[in-house]
């Protein structure tokens, strides 16, 4: 994906569950500053929660960068890890697909919850997911 729109607001390390909470809180605050409605915010925060936790759980940890832009208003979160990568992205996006014995709804659900989501992944190198919420 091209350069994220807007200015970099925050860089959050993602090593533990707790870090995911912090990253998603920052993303929610940025949306609030732009005047987003509560549904929009909850949806995006949930998407960031899913992708962030995937980076911690499957990607061995990574980093989330949060960007915000006023005109046109949008918040972008880029979540990057240097983990094993996803061999079959289409399969991973399917509901119910999980290599961890959990629900397997995170990736597909997150894509439905944001306005735009792109996954770049290379096996053995890592995964980078870009999520955008537009107002």
């Amino acid at each position: 994906m091209s350069v994220p729109e807007g200015a970099l607001v925050s860089v959050c390390v993602l090593l533990r569950d707790r870090d995911v909470l912090h990253a998603r809180r920052v993303a929610g605050q940025e949306l609030e500053k732009l005047g987003a409605r509560s549904v929009k915010k909850t949806r995006f925060v949930t998407a960031v929660s899913e992708i962030g936790r995937n980076a911690v759980m499957h990607g061995g940890g990574g980093e989330a960068r949060i960007y915000s832009q006023v005109h046109p208003p949008c918040v972008t979160v880029v979540c990057r890890d240097k983990g094993p990568g996803i061999a079959d992205v289409d399969a991973a996006l399917c509901d119910g697909f999980s290599t961890a014995g959990s629900m397997g709804r995170g990736l597909g659900g997150a894509r439905r919850l944001c306005d735009q989501m792109e996954i770049e992944t290379t096996v053995g190198k890592g995964t980078c997911v870009t999520m955008v919420a537009r107002l």
């Binding site: 569950d17 707790r18 909470l21 998603r24 509560s38 549904v39 909850t42 949806r43 925060v45 949930t46 929660s49 899913e50 936790r53 509901d95 959990s102 629900m103 709804r105 995170g106 597909g108 659900g109 439905r112 919850l113």
Partner: protein, 291 residues
């Protein structure tokens, strides 16, 4: 012993230990960072001299030149003393900037002694001052890091305490329990909450449990999975589980996530959840006047 760019400093520290110690302590008091209100003169002197001794060890055995590295092995003793002193001082209310000034106050007496010894060797004087300055600056930075680490530890501790506080299981009526969840649910916390709940069901012989999500802002797959697991464990114990407090926003988000609650009873508010629960154990809430 390794190559050192601060050999004069080392010999000064060894040979004029007491003079430097006195100089350091009096600079501290001149700059108002001695804090005799918090530390007795004796305590302050002991801390200061143990720092100075550890510093001698570091300079004697480690690098002070371009390869100076405070995190290397020869500086272990100094780091340990700095951590002790910083923690002790921060516990008594000394600020990070006072702590840094306290350490930096060592420069004066050392520079003064160097100037006396190397009066006619300008090149060497500058070099020694340059390198020992870097070493002492690094001490001050390290103290600040210790301060921050200590604060982080306290914040984390408080967060854990808050989490413990916020998982009460309340008996609302005979056979009816409620569990108001607040904040976030990670796996460790979910496990704790579940154990607590199942234990109470057994003790109180409860038949209905209301798990209330009003205080939970984000329901992602992790939270949903914990909820559903909790509901099936409750059912395995022969009780019924009602999940209440599913706001319209959360309902929409869960649908888009693709979470299916299956057989689990859900209610939008704790109020409807409560009426439902009482009903199931044979009670009804009626208005007195209309009786």
């Amino acid at each position: 012993m390794s190559e050192t760019e601060t050999s004069t400093v080392l010999s000064i520290l060894r040979e004029r230990f007491d003079a430097i110690l006195d100089g350091w302590i009096s600079t501290q008091s001149d700059e108002g960072v001695q804090r005799t209100d918090l530390f007795s003169h004796k305590e302050g002197r002991e801390q200061t001299s143990s720092l100075l001794r550890a510093m001698i060890t570091g300079i004697a055995e480690g690098d002070t030149g371009s390869r100076f590295d405070l995190s290397s092995e020869p500086w272990t003793e100094l780091r340990t003393v700095l951590v002790d002193v910083t923690q002790e001082r921060s516990a008594r209310g000394v600020s990070p900037s006072d702590m840094a000034s306290f350490v930096l106050a060592l420069k004066g007496p050392i520079f003064f002694q160097l100037q006396e010894l190397l009066a006619d060797q300008a090149g060497e004087l500058v070099e020694e001052i340059f390198f020992i300055s870097r070493v002492i600056d690094a001490f001050a930075v390290y103290c600040t890091e210790v301060f921050i680490a200590e604060r982080d530890r306290i914040i984390e501790q408080q967060r854990d305490q808050m989490q413990e506080l916020s998982t009460p299981v309340v008996e609302l009526w005979d056979k009816v329990l409620t569990l108001p969840l607040i904040g976030t649910m990670d796996s460790a916390r979910a496990q704790e909450v579940m154990e607590n709940l199942l234990e109470t069901i057994l003790q109180r012989q409860s038949e209905v449990v209301i798990v209330d999500l009003t205080g939970v802002q984000t329901v992602d797959t992790q939270v949903a999975q914990h909820m559903l697991r909790m509901a099936s464990a409750v059912r395995l114990m022969g009780a019924e589980c009602i999940i209440s407090g599913i706001s319209p926003t959360i309902a929409q988000t869960m649908v888009q996530l693709g979470v299916d609650v299956g057989e689990v009873t859900t209610r939008s508010t704790i109020r409807t959840g409560l009426a439902d629960a009482l009903n199931r154990v044979g009670y009804e809430i009626v208005h007195k006047a209309k009786q």
